[in-house]
Amino acid sequence: MCSRRTAFTRRSRAAVVWTIGLFLLGQFALGLVLDYATPLTRFPSARAVLEFTAKEPSPPAVVFLGSSRTGAAIHPAEMNALLATEVRRDPAPRVINAAAPGGDAISAEFVLNRLLDSGVKPELVVMEVWPEAFNARSPFLIQHVVRQFNWEDVPSQAVPATRAKAGRLFAQARLVPGYTHRRQIVRDVKMWAIELLRREPASHRPPTDKLAAGPLDWDDVIRAAAPGPESDLTELSQVGARETVRKWLTPYQLAGPATEALERILTRCRAEGIRVLLVDMPACSAHRDEYTPEIRAQFTRFIDRLTIDHGCRFVAVNDWLPDSQYIDALHVSHEGGREFTRRFTRDVVVEALQK
């Protein structure tokens, strides 16, 4: 009886140890698969952009990169129609809006590298730049921790991520990727099962991000997020500027991984013969008022250096729209986006494509 109990105890201890070991090993293996074999599972909005671009009959002439602010401000269909009449070319130049929710130069580099590696080479890259995105304590690191950072990023990004209050999520994403990316994994498994049963590729993999990202989805997102007609948009934008923008800018030090990512984007584009336009997308007055003279000075010095070192151009358009064309402190309304797209196309893109 005693030896049987001892055997049972030994066996139970072994089972517990095997459970913990195999679970951690399984999560590590799953993480490697997500990092290297199916990296787009973690970044479904990027996958939607790449799949959409792959289906286009010809490579886009212009690629827009940035955050949801770019997503809201640029209406590709509107721009394509204008370019078809303003730029005499066959085929007419086309654009894609490759912005990502919570995107900055780091996510832009991820998307652009994959586009270029797949053979899609645009004439012009329009890159959103704004002071928040280049703060050392970037509010967007939390997105990259989930979407892009791998084990090799741990030494360089662990400390910045922790400073940006994304340290816990970073650890969770590395140690239990099965939990962190569960929705994307389940969706991918469902799509593969459907492909297997139907014996044909899935026609479109809908992105699982709430701010779903394909060039065609921003419109629906902005319409859905817009406040009701009775809302005071000015007050909304002022509240948003105080609560969100100010938080993102305090404290402010222009440094960090996003600045390095932008440098790499510019270097690669120059090497590939792709022109780059740096653009600060429309911002309401309450948002612009949050930029103190010190912040403006740091940002201006940074941009000036980039334009000199990399031969790119900076276009200041953040005051092109009145406050009534915003749905919150950061995003333009549907009508605001149309208005901005029309003006930006005529005043900037056409000129850039005709050079």
Binding site: S12, R13, A14, V17, T19, F23, I185
Partner: protein, 465 residues
Amino acid sequence: MLFSTANFLGFYLIAFAVYWSVGRHRARLIWLMAASAWFYMSWSPWFLLLILGSTSVDYLVALRLERVRGSSARKWLVALSVSINLGVLAYFKYVAFFLDAARGATHWLGWDVPIPIAKQFLPLGLSFYTFEAISYAVDVYRGRVRAVRNPFDYAVYILFFPHLVAGPIVRPAEFLPQLARPKRFDWARCHAGGQLFLCGLFKKIVLADNVAQCIDPVFADPGRFDSLTLWLAVLGYAVQIYGDFSGYTDMALGIAHTFGFKLPNNFNAPYLAASPSDFWRRWHISLSRWLRDYLYIPLGGNRHGPTRTTINLFATMVLGGLWHGANWTFVVWGTYHGVLLAVQRLIPASWNRPMLRPLGGLLTLLAVCVGWVFFRAQSLGDVGTILRGLVIPTAGEGLLGDGSAVVLAAIIATLVGQAIGQWKGWPRLMFRVPAPIVGALVALGITIVLLLTPGEGKTFIYFNF
């Protein structure tokens, strides 16, 4: 702190590590009491004062009961304990309900009586620990258990965190002797506790929470949906409440195991019950036993003829329904089950044949699922809408996306899981399977639970009671 959260995992690991690091049994119990108090205070620090205040009355009453000899004085003491406990329960749980009912009645009668509006504020776990405190005082009065001398032991009995907020309702005779026995760390108990916890996590997160996401819109606005969808929602809710409550119980039992304590089982494949009375021997077993021993039997039980037995059953079920919540839907639900039990008593014994048992089981399952409509619906009006839709074919919307598939899969998984769980050969089989394979299966189970966790976790249903 829900059992299914990362915060609880952190709390548990610290509580577990310190508990087994401490060498002395007394010190362990004090640490367990402190950890349990911390756990309860994570919801609100004031709750701790209430629980200590109300249950300390029972501790003192029990000590006095052992010294007092006269039967009249002993009766007064136990009546005092029960009154205070029920008074606290009534105040926090039912005052708003009864005032609303009184207001409705006076309004209906056309009387202009100013009745105040009370806001309901229910301390977590009140219904559970109140019943435990009552059973302690009554069992000491009946001589079934000795009064606890050490107040820390009594505090551990009441505050022990695995069962504190949603049961099972633990009898003093089941738990107090375990406090006296020094514990030794046992890998087998840890392993068994971990597997039980994982089983509960699967039921709660994979079954209950995923089904809830699909069917909540149906109960929010039942008039929009077609009959098939209403049936799916009703059956889905049966799965949800089972997965939620029995999942919580499994987690509680599993955690208790890892600390060296055994809590009573609360569920025994309730949807395989052959009759309404069999259902109540399998569902929320600790509550059924409590109601039987402290309400039904003192009322007379079945000792005074069939009519009185039926009345006692009825009263027990109505009050049992009311225990679940201060809403007419719960009263109706309890009454409904009272009717089922009364109807069962009318069925001749000759009908109880093996051939008819599957039919009895199916009818019981159907009756229980229909009963859940009263339990879940937000108002009696919604109950009517749902029941009408179940009986009269109605056109309308279906569940969104793959909701129907999710609910169907959960129903099948629940019934199959309950059937498999009845097999007595599991422990022997698990002992024969090599440890690496057991480890791999459990690791796979944890991975599946993590993958199928819905975006937003739901709180446990029985926390509301």
